[in-house]
Symmetry: C2
Subunit: 141 residues, 2 copies
């Protein structure tokens, strides 16, 4: 499937190793991930030189064209919150995950949509496993 | 007008004095602000005891019913990003402001919608003044 991976960039990169594990698993499973580069360690430098209007247009296009959004939400981010709501308004399934113990917005935790799945993980492997189960469900629908 | 005020809660409260100034000005000008309590100093305690699904349902209802969204975006927040995209999908005008020097997501800075206005302020008074100009424009349309 075509999967939009969404994670904090400007808001903080503490969870980058988990971003990398999620994207690695998606690519290994044969999915197309236009935002795979957002899991790179040096992405803040790379994305820092791209104009905001270009990033906005590019990312909205990718969300619009994707089958599923996968979002890591341990670190607060306006962009990720924006993309989750955008995906939802377009009828896309959304998988969200966060490290147990992270303080996550109740606007994320309380979303009752049947297209929205949220998972609190202990380890990156946990998160990957749960994501794979969710994506299988979407593929079989 | 009926104005949905949106600010970081779980993500951090460093900018709470500015939230208070914005909400105070809105109320002084006769607007109705269902989320006025989010500018209170002790809101994290108050909102902490409300269930996530209740906050989600309540806030989505308020965004749906409002005329304009006013968002302070100096501190990253999934909830605020979500509410901005939700408001946009419903055709609501959105006023965003942030303290000069804050690192703001390019998904916010690059939004080209004519309904979306973003302003970088030096002081809370600056932010209030610019917000008032924006709201006058909306009222006169």
């Amino acid at each position: 499937m075509n999967i939009y991976f969404s994670c904090s960039i400007t808001g903080g990169r503490n969870d980058q190793p988990v971003y990398r594990s999620l994207v690695k698993a998606l690519l290994e499973d044969g999915h197309s991930v236009p935002t795979a580069h957002l899991a790179d360690e040096n992405i803040t430098l790379q994305e820092g030189i791209v104009e905001a209007d270009e990033i906005y247009r590019r990312d909205v296009g990718w969300v619009t064209g994707c089958d599923v959004v996968v979002a890591e939400v341990s670190t607060p981010s306006h962009g990720v919150g924006y993309e989750i709501a955008l995906a939802e308004s377009l009828g896309k399934p959304v998988f969200c995950c966060y490290q147990i113990g992270s303080r996550v917005s109740k606007m994320i935790l309380g979303n009752p949509s049947t297209l929205f799945h949220i998972y609190a993980y202990n380890t990156a492997d946990d998160a990957v496993e749960n994501m794979r189960v969710f994506l299988k469900t979407v593929e079989n629908e």
